[in-house]
């Protein structure tokens, strides 16, 4: 066996245009982190449960797109709407039949329940689709490259960046600026008091869970053209997402979005300079944040007590 380290020393010199292009790569990766962390965060904020099955919902989203394309020639852009709706409905079912029964007991029960869901759903998908990848192509209008002036960049990846930023901004504005968002925030902070005002918090909770899960499914569809659509595709990305939610501050909406994009860029640039560290970098940041700012970068003390 030959030591591979000499290969890693011979790095090409990096121009600014190269680094800038890598920044775009970071935004793509960060976009997925942000979408997933956002869903995870609003679910945690509202329901106080850590949804272990979030990565599974992401995987289900990709499979809805895949089966849609296979069975009824569902186009990619339609899948971006159909998959979140379908998976959101499934989430609603999970919340009303399973999760709801466990709100009054220790959060550990919900953690175990969502973890069990991961195992069951992943195995069912393995039976249905097989352990190997299922094909999903980049839509024709978005294939090819776009000239950014300093480089040619894949059109699809640009599309991902734009869509992720837009969706994150819309969700943020809904929660921070609308009456519905105000109710959600109220129900998050003071559930009893909110109920006393005659607001149906139970329905709000169901809706928020379904919405958070739908965001994960949306991310799944968005990543299907770039990744191996398989039952285990959610496993790797969800661990990173948990770390990002902790770094951003559990339950913090803005924290999830900003941290998601920032960590995507950090992990990508880290991978350029020292490839083996790319996945570890996120956890190094997490350890530092937990040590020096346990509530997370954007978390308030109240939210994490």
């Amino acid at each position: 066996m030959i030591d591979a380290s000499p290969f890693m020393l011979a790095q090409a010199s990096f121009g600014w245009d190269y680094i800038l292009t890598q920044l775009f790569n970071g935004l793509v990766r960060g976009g997925f982190y942000a979408l997933l962390a956002l869903g995870l965060s609003i679910i945690f904020g509202m329901l106080r449960i850590v949804n272990f099955a979030h990565g599974t919902m992401y995987m289900l989203g990709a499979f809805v797109a895949y089966y849609g394309a296979q069975l009824i020639h569902l186009p990619f852009f339609a899948a971006l709407i159909v998959a979140p709706v379908a998976v959101g409905a499934f989430g609603l079912l999970v919340e009303t039949t399973l999760l709801r029964r466990l709100y009054d007991v220790d959060p550990l029960y919900n953690l175990l329940l969502t973890f069990a869901l991961v195992l069951v759903i992943e195995d069912l998908m393995r039976l249905l689709a097989g352990p190997l990848g299922s094909p999903y192509e980049t839509p024709a209008v978005l294939s090819g490259a776009t000239n950014l002036g300093f480089t040619l960049y894949p059109t699809y990846q640009l599309f991902v960046i734009v869509v992720c930023i837009a969706v994150c901004a819309i969700v943020y504005l809904i929660i921070e600026r609308t009456a519905l968002g105000a109710r959600i925030r109220a129900a998050t902070e003071k559930p009893e008091l909110t109920r006393a005002f005659g607001i149906n918090t139970r329905r709000l909770i169901s809706g928020v869970f379904a919405f958070g899960v739908a965001l994960a499914a949306f991310a799944g569809v968005l990543n299907a053209p770039s990744t191996n659509v398989s039952p285990t595709m959610g496993d790797a990305i969800i661990i990173n997402t948990f770390a990002i939610v902790v770094i951003g501050g559990m339950g913090s909406i803005l924290g999830s979005i900003v941290t998601g994009f920032a960590l995507g860029i950090i992990a990508t640039i880290g991978a350029v300079y020292y490839p083996p560290i790319s996945n570890t970098l996120i956890f190094i940041v997490m350890v530092l944040v937990i040590l020096f700012r346990p509530a997370g970068l954007f978390g308030t003390a109240e939210r994490t007590t």
């Binding site: 040619l152 083996p276 007590t305």
Partner: protein, 440 residues
């Protein structure tokens, strides 16, 4: 309800204590009536119960009872499509074609799921050998193959690896009781690597390599293989296994000006790399060398692999004999699938072993090895083959093939077009370069 989850898990309450709060009832339904067997209240007892039920001895007479062949393969994980159930069925086919018995003893094929876990595979192999297995087969996963290699050596039982790739099996870890039958990292490099390096624009390589034993062995073997053609790696990225985002490495590869992208990973990592390489248009600006690819990978994602040049030990449509066997295999599995090279190798190796057992009149591994060493043979799978005595590499022809695009295939699964037949002497590591320290 309040309190961060992290603190809950880490602090005042452990998972095991949580289990303590449950009482678990074990019961069976007997003639419509529920009969309570026993009740457990601690996690420890649950674990003991599960472990003891898994490890129950099966008995078996080593001298006169049936002869067991243990197919140690991946039945449900990432390699189950390239080996898995098809590997078990191929082995059973060989046994049935042989008549179902040898030396007057019935032959039984046992499917053992290694779950891609080396230590677990070693335990199961030990158990299988203790319960009458005379041969361990398949082992699609290098870590599993190496783990069983050690057990076979200790038990003096035979192991024929058809699935695992690492050339260490006939190198640093070579053993009297292990033959490496189908292909290895050296052969992939010597065929795919050299074929591409020989072309005028195949001289500078950029590697994307998984950061573990298989990857470093692939990189080492590819580096050595392309050197005589004047080609070399200008850079190789050691990427964590099970990676989802390859864009930074792909962009760096594009930026490096290298002529060839060496995709030296496996499974889902290869798919992710190739999908993203297409988005970045790398398939147009660079040659792409895929280190390890199977027919079932192409079945799953034809568009991703179209145009790749790879190496295989066998192709179901390579000649009439291969095709005839493949037809029987496909029919047996209910249609739809064509066998992979590993599954064909499982049949071939089982058949060759049974022949040897019959010839020497014993299942004793030492006697079988003495018979096989240096023996030459030909069958539908292995052409111009030899059980090499020097390091227990089984050498035979290998095939460099191009993966055809969907529009060009003449029938389902006919993805490969053979572009070069590699004679055994060039496909595998020459004896003169063997690093096997022969202790037998």
């Amino acid at each position: 309800m309040k309190g961060s989850l992290l603190r809950q898990v880490a602090g005042r309450r452990g998972i095991l204590e949580w289990f303590d709060e449950f009482e678990i009832h074990f019961s069976v339904t007997h003639e419509g009536e529920r009969v309570k067997l026993f009740r457990l209240s601690t996690a420890g007892a649950v674990i003991v119960a599960v472990l003891s039920s898994l490890g129950a001895p099966q008995g078996g007479n080593a001298q006169s009872g049936p002869i067991h062949i243990a197919v140690i393969t991946d039945m449900s994980g990432i390699y189950s499509a390239i080996a898995g159930r098809g590997a078990v069925e191929a082995t059973k086919m060989a046994v049935e074609d042989f008549g179902g018995s040898v030396l007057g003893r019935q032959i039984v094929v046992d499917a053992i799921d290694h779950r891609n876990n080396g230590p677990e595979a070693a335990t199961k192999a030990r158990e299988a050998f203790d319960n009458g297995a005379e041969l361990a087969m398949d082992e699609t996963n290098s870590a599993v193959a190496l783990a069983v290699d050690a057990v076979a050596k200790e038990k003096h039982k035979l192991e024929i690896v058809t699935g695992g790739a690492t050339s260490a099996l006939t190198g640093a870890s070579c053993s009297k009781y292990t033959y490496h039958y189908a292909y290895d990292t050296y052969a992939l490099a010597a065929s795919t690597g050299r074929n591409i390096a020989r072309q005028p624009n195949g001289k500078t390589w950029y590697g994307i390599v998984p950061n573990y034993a298989f990857g470093t062995q692939m990189l080492a073997d590819f580096t050595a293989a392309i050197k005589p053609e004047g080609a070399s790696f200008i850079h190789a990225d050691m990427v964590p296994v099970a990676n989802a985002d390859f864009s930074s490495y792909l962009l760096a590869a594009k930026n490096s000006g290298a002529q060839v992208l060496g995709v030296l990973n496996a499974g889902a990592d290869t798919v992710n790399t190739m999908k993203q390489a297409k988005q970045f248009g790398l398939d147009k600006s660079m040659k792409i060398a895929v280190g390890l690819l199977f027919l079932s990978d192409v079945d799953a994602l034809p568009d991703v692999f179209a145009g790749s040049r790879i190496t295989t030990s066998w192709y179901w449509n390579e000649d009439a004999a291969a095709r005839a066997w493949a037809d029987r295999f496909t029919k047996r599995l209910g249609g739809g699938l064509r066998p992979t090279s590993i599954q064909a190798a499982d049949y071939s190796a089982t058949w060759q072993w049974l022949q040897a057992v019959k010839a020497v009149g014993s299942v004793d591994a030492d006697k079988v090895v003495a018979y096989l060493d240096g023996r030459q043979f030909n069958d539908f799978y292995a052409h111009a083959a030899e059980w090499r005595a020097r390091d227990h590499r089984v050498t035979h022809e290998m095939y460099v093939v191009d993966v055809l695009p969907k529009e060009q295939i003449k029938e389902p699964h006919a993805w490969f077009k053979i572009v070069q037949v590699m004679p055994p002497s060039r496909a595998f590591r020459p004896e003169s370069q063997s690093v096997c320290v022969k202790t037998w």
